[in-house]
């Protein structure tokens, strides 16, 4: 079973999906699938497939309104991955700085 973060990372690994997600984020409102397809050279089917993947990762939510399906952006899953990365990013920066200080002090002594 694929877990959440794997889905998020896979979803954003594809440049077209990143662009689709970005398009919905900067629209700052719900976009219909037609509106999204209109911005891309690939087929509507292709766009729909990418949207499904983004939905599966929790990055887009889809709501039916009348005949159209509307996509809403949800950056929450990205934030979760981001937090984790930021934590370890700082953790290793601090640790390597610590290593350097330790070696420098020891050399002086």
């Amino acid at each position: 079973m694929q877990d959440k973060v794997t889905k998020v990372l896979k979803a954003i690994a594809d440049p077209t999906r990143r662009e689709i997600f970005h398009a919905v984020v900067i629209a700052a409102t719900a976009l219909s699938i037609s509106q999204i397809s209109g911005q891309f050279q690939i087929s509507r089917q292709g766009v729909t497939k990418h949207i499904k993947t983004l939905e599966g990762a929790g990055l887009l939510q889809i709501k039916d309104q009348g005949r159209e399906r509307y996509c809403f952006a949800n950056p929450q899953p990205l934030e979760e991955v981001q937090k984790w990365l930021q934590f370890y990013d700082k953790f290793w920066d601090d640790s390597l700085q610590r290593l350097e200080n330790y070696l420098d002090k020891e050399k002086e002594a």
């Binding site: 877990d3 794997t6 990205l78 990365l85 990013d89 350097e100 002090k105």
Partner: protein, 142 residues
Amino acid sequence: MKDVITKEVVLNHSIDRIWKAITLQEEISTWFIKADFKAENGYRYEFTASEENGCATITGEVKSASPYTLIYTWTVENTQVETTVTWNLKEVENGTRLTLEHSGISQYTGDTAVEMFNSYTSGWDKCMVALDDHIKNEVHAG
């Protein structure tokens, strides 16, 4: 966003000096975190910090420890997720280039990541401060 954190620094120290610092238990315990560690393939190591600081325990297995590459798995207490830490040293003109990679991030579930992050940050901060004090004290004592 990639599934790996990579850090690279050039240290003005010999490759053997740095290799000792990252592989010997006493040295790791001084600059990094209290360690039960042997740089031997298959060794189940444990990193711990003092209990009063409430720090997490990290366990893992040494996968490779031949100069100058050290690889071990990294599992944080109360999580089932195994990530991998790789240290690599290379002699360069003005010292030694240390490359560190921490991979397998995608194996964390979102919940685990957040939970770990929350429960963990304060603990680590305390540990790091404690370690800083420890080093300062040693320097003063010396």
